[in-house]
Symmetry: C2
Subunit: 185 residues, 2 copies
Amino acid sequence: MAQKNYTQYALLGLLTTGYHTGYTMKQMIDGSLNHFWKISYGQIYPTLKLLVDKGYAEVSVASQQGKPDKKEYFITTSGEAYLKQWLEQPVHELPIEKNELLLKLFFSRQQDHSTTITQIEIYYEKLVERCDTYEGIKKMILAESCQHKDAPFWIITLDYGISTTQAAMEWCIKTKETLHSLKEE
Amino acid sequence: MAQKNYTQYALLGLLTTGYHTGYTMKQMIDGSLNHFWKISYGQIYPTLKLLVDKGYAEVSVASQQGKPDKKEYFITTSGEAYLKQWLEQPVHELPIEKNELLLKLFFSRQQDHSTTITQIEIYYEKLVERCDTYEGIKKMILAESCQHKDAPFWIITLDYGISTTQAAMEWCIKTKETLHSLKEE
DNA sequence: CACGCCATGTAACTCGTTACATGATTTC
DNA sequence: GAAATCATGTAACGAGTTACATGGCGTG
């Protein structure tokens, strides 16, 4: 009953949004899905083969001028049904994010508060960076791809990233204060 | 150079906070670390063995009345150094949470907005549940374990979970509105 | 006597990453 | 001719889950 092999769905989904080769799919993921999904070539190519085996996709080799040959994949009717059925299924479980900072924090009584505070500051900087990246992508989509039929949904997923990242940033600030006051005791 | 095998650090850390058997560690993780770290017996027992092999921990078998024998693990000086060195290292990378809802949303142009809205509502309910759980644990710690020397750090990690979960909840509400207005167009 | 809790452990499996291999073309 | 980009792929490894196996004790 448990739904697994999300990679299949991710790739089928990308086929419906206009990305037809393993290479362009990887680029798309790195550029836009990266905040909630990532994937390596080591997964992409074998999974594409699997999709063809299962009849969810079809391949054709396309030669290009000035570039190496590429394999273009297209979703089949059966693949569309498979994707749709997954899309309609509610998410059963919230993701549990393995968070190295929180794991360290959990055991931080062991060490100087100043070290812990530095850890949080470094984490904060990374959050700022991430937030900037998301906002950059969002602006890019609004400027360049706003007419793309998938664009509103892309924006929505980016907003999720921005909101939760900002919440984490605020937590950093609050926590630094808490640690300072713990120090004084 | 890359830091891996966090399980080792998690278990060493738990040894310093007073959990000395595989079984109690698992219980602790399920009860309190669960929002940012989880682990299975299939990881715990082999890793405990590994820690002993590396000299980071020592074991002794303790017999109990009315309960089966248990193996009690204790951190060694070398283990403490190993843990400390990890605690001091800054986190290099933010976690990337694989989020099934966002993946579905990304491809949701394919389907009725009403189906998508239902998805978000279900997700929202799960967020509420999660938030309640965190707040419950927090209250419990404040009431029962406030004198425990690790308690302030436990609270901090819980606050992270509460903050980011609430941000996600607000996003759900906003996104539902966005989807309603998309429908009208 | 069945169920639940305490307690430890392993084997098979799945998922995903990393490193490697190959090779064409274009641009500097 | 070196580097960057386009393009596809595999093998080895690592992390983690699941299912299974075992067995004692206490409670209803």
